[in-house]
């Protein structure tokens, strides 16, 4: 009698085998406390040594926005510069950081935790999800800081702000998918992690965080059409519309449908893509 026959008889399972998708996801769900705790503790660990501590989560994007706002505010002339420029930049940078964090840090979610992956058996998807949760907490904190800034520049809270809630849900779904996709890609192509900050920067400059695509690309209707189908552009445009409606930022209603679809597809692709390599992580 061979051992694998014995395994059949005695109901033994192959160790290290990737579980089927739904039991895998159930196991990830069972580990949700680990995901959120790891995310919260990492945030604390990052900032606790500083005097201002957790405040840095809000200060960093604020300083970023100030620096970019100053430089791009000077470069752009009155004609192309969006109205109400400081608010334009702050909303843009704050919303952008969530995606950027998931994109760049998601890439390190598995590779930077090699030790943990190689010594503990747990569903690896918890690692990119912890990165995503960490970025989401940061983003929520910056959203709170955004309120007094908006008021300072004369945008008072209105019912319209509530639209940010569904937008946030869709955006977070999209970013979860992005994090998982990046987390697996860098496991196969380690070199990519070196390039990602540059790719992220190109995306940053191209996504209309600092300038209005509509007025800069006035002579190129095709490019504007293409932007109409670009999820990050849609997120920024919708966020600006809801929070600062007078900034001349109406958007096409098809954005809702398009963005939701893009988010769900990205999430499903991300889950399947990450899960299918479950046995591969930590082996190099």
């Amino acid at each position: 009698m061979s051992v694998s026959q014995l395994a059949d008889v005695e109901h033994l399972h192959r160790v290290g085998a990737r579980p089927p998708l739904f039991s895998y996801l159930a196991e990830v769900w069972r580990r949700r406390a680990f995901i959120t705790t790891l995310a919260r503790y990492r945030l604390r660990a990052k900032y606790e040594a500083n005097r201002l501590g957790i405040l840095w989560i809000a200060i960093r994007p604020l300083v970023n926005a100030a620096v970019y706002g100053l430089i791009f505010g000077v470069i752009q002339t009155g004609a192309t510069r969006p109205k109400d420029y400081p608010v334009y930049v702050v909303v843009g940078v704050f919303f952008w950081e969530f995606f950027m964090g998931c994109f760049v840090e998601g890439a390190h979610a598995v590779t930077a935790n090699r030790n943990m992956v190689q010594s503990l058996a747990f569903p690896r998807m918890t690692l990119p999800l912890a990165v995503w949760a960490e970025r989401m907490y940061s983003f929520l904190i910056t959203l709170v800081v955004l309120v007094p800034i908006l008021i300072l520049f004369g945008h008072y809270p209105s019912l319209k702000w509530l639209w940010v809630i569904p937008l946030f849900a869709i955006y977070a779904t999209f970013n979860a998918g992005v994090t998982m996709i990046l987390a697996r890609i860098t496991v196969h192509v380690t070199d990519l992690a070196e390039l990602l900050p540059y790719i992220a920067r190109i995306l940053f400059y191209a996504s209309g965080v600092l300038f209005s695509v509509d007025s800069v690309m006035k002579g190129h209707p095709l490019i504007i059409k293409a932007y109409d189908a670009y999820p990050m552009y849609q997120v920024l445009k919708m966020a600006r519309h809801f929070l600062t409606e007078d900034a001349g930022t109406s958007f096409n209603q098809h954005y809702w449908l398009f963005l939701s679809l893009a988010a769900v597809i990205t999430l499903v692709v991300g889950v399947l893509f990450f899960w299918s390599a479950e046995e591969r992580y930590g082996r190099d």
Partner: protein
């Protein structure tokens, strides 16, 4: 598969819980530097030297419920590779490991800890990483603190601990679990002489609660004390598998 049939005939053992069939493990290592005799070199050489290390070459055995199995062998014989394959962390290049429930290694939660955080928070993090629920972690908390003897400094960041304190905390977190199939590396016992004795004692206590244990050790004394059966691994193959006294005697004789 003589060994299995033999164990099945004896009939005294519990049902099989782990079964290892013809397990081969090969590591592919990107060799840096030059092996002796290599001719080519240069930074931009695209095909870097990939060396294959055949760490296990066809290991087979079956472990039964309530067995304590010692794993011995010289450094580099493949003991650790075998243990990592048992818990599913190292993929077999051929053969497979089957188990009733997932075997777990004692003492590896340290990888999940964050030195910036207090011992208190690291207990929570380590416990969750090992798969405990938050309420189980809350229950374990006091025992862990007491065992690690860190009541005074449990709220300080772990990076401020002395290496002995950190090692005690890591051990106490790791030793909080009781598994069905448990793998214990005795290099784990840490700290000063007194704590080493306490941790060895704790390991034995855990071993007595676990269903089936594998004890990896260089200390023949603890193998003889804890294990009824011993497997001697040498250069990636099972050199000998049988009652501890027989195997350990032969092993010790071979080293003289």
């Amino acid at each position: 598969m003589v060994a299995i049939e033999e164990y099945q005939r004896t009939g005294e053992l519990g049902e099989p819980v782990v079964s290892v069939e013809n397990l081969h493990v090969t590591y592919r290592v990107y060799a840096t530097g030059k092996a002796a005799g290599s001719q080519r070199n240069g930074l931009l050489r695209v095909s870097r030297g990939i060396r294959e290390v055949h760490a296990l070459r066809g290991v087979s055995f079956v472990a039964h419920r309530n067995e304590s199995i010692g794993i011995i062998g010289p450094n580099g014989s493949g003991k650790s590779t075998l243990m990592r394959a048992l818990v599913g962390l190292t993929p077999p290049s051929a053969g497979a490991v089957y188990a009733r429930s997932r075997p777990n290694m004692l003492g590896v939660a340290a990888a999940a800890l964050l030195p910036e955080l207090s011992g208190e928070r690291n207990i929570v993090l380590g416990g969750l990483a090992m798969g405990f629920t938050p309420s189980e972690v809350r229950e374990m908390r006091d025992d862990i603190v007491a065992f690690a003897e860190l009541e005074e400094s449990i709220d300080l960041p772990m990076r401020t601990y002395s290496s002995g304190m950190a090692a005690r905390l890591k051990f106490a977190i790791a030793a909080a679990r009781a598994d069905d199939i448990l793998i214990i590396d005795e290099a784990l016992s840490v700290g000063d002489k007194r704590f080493q004795e306490r941790s060895e004692e704790r390991i034995r206590e855990i071993a007595s609660h676990a269903g089936t244990i594998f004890l990896v050790s260089h200390a023949m004394k603890s193998i003889r004390e804890t294990c009824a059966r011993t497997i001697w691994i040498n250069q990636g193959v099972v050199e000998m598998d049988g009652p501890t006294d027989e195997v350990v005697d032969t092993y010790e004789a071979s080293k003289k």
